[in-house]
């Protein structure tokens, strides 16, 4: 089996643990921390899958996520800190 795929599945377990935080998190910031972690993990997962399949063009998706996941965080943070958008 391809080593990258094994790494991907291990990352999946990591995502599972992070999702418990999204589920439990008593406050909204806790949940965003979980979301942020899952974001990075998914980016890593995308890189791994692209390498595992040797598909060069797939890596673009990871870049998109790496660039855009930040905006979600910012939006919710902006909501939490109050004031108008």
């Amino acid at each position: 089996m391809n080593v990258f795929m094994i790494a991907l599945v291990l990352l999946g377990i990591s995502v599972a643990i992070a999702m418990i935080r999204v589920l439990l998190g008593p406050t909204i910031p806790d949940r965003i921390v979980g979301l942020d972690t899952i974001n990075t993990l998914v980016i890593a997962g995308m890189l791994l899958f692209g390498a595992a399949q040797k598909m060069i063009i797939y890596i673009d998706v990871a870049i998109v996520y790496a660039l855009l996941s930040y905006i979600t965080t910012l939006f919710i943070a902006k909501y939490l800190q109050g004031g108008e958008l």
Binding site: I17, P29, A44, A66, S69, Y70
Partner: protein
């Protein structure tokens, strides 16, 4: 030889990512969780990207021309993670503090003191 380097990089990356998740569960409040969630995932993500970059460079060296593109794109992903993750953590921490989440077990909170003045 190169496979071993990739294994090590992947191992470190996976280890720290798992550690980040466990840290998220174990720590008591947002700020400490952010320590785990930011530092470890960034570090782990960098190592996983490094594994992919090394893999790409190796294949490129072996004669598959287009594989360099894999490395460059993975490098961009890594750069983006490196730039955005700490900023996101900063934004969350600030928002959390402004929305009134107190650091648990804190011995000192100078920001709260400033706000109260």
């Amino acid at each position: 030889m190169i496979w071993e380097i990739i294994y090590i990089c992947l191992g470190i990356g996976i280890f720290f990512n798992l550690l980040a998740s466990i840290g998220l569960i174990r720590f008591p409040d947002v700020y400490t969780r952010l320590h785990a969630g930011t530092k470890c995932t960034t570090f782990g993500g960098i190592f996983i990207s490094l594994a992919v970059i090394i893999y790409g460079l190796w294949k490129w060296y072996d004669g598959d021309d287009a594989m360099i593109s894999l490395s460059i794109h993975a490098f961009f992903a890594m750069l983006a993670i490196l730039l955005t993750n700490p900023t996101g953590a900063h934004a969350i921490a600030r928002a959390a503090h402004m929305s009134g989440v107190k650091p648990a077990k804190a011995v000192v909170d100078e920001l709260e003191e400033v706000k109260n003045d």
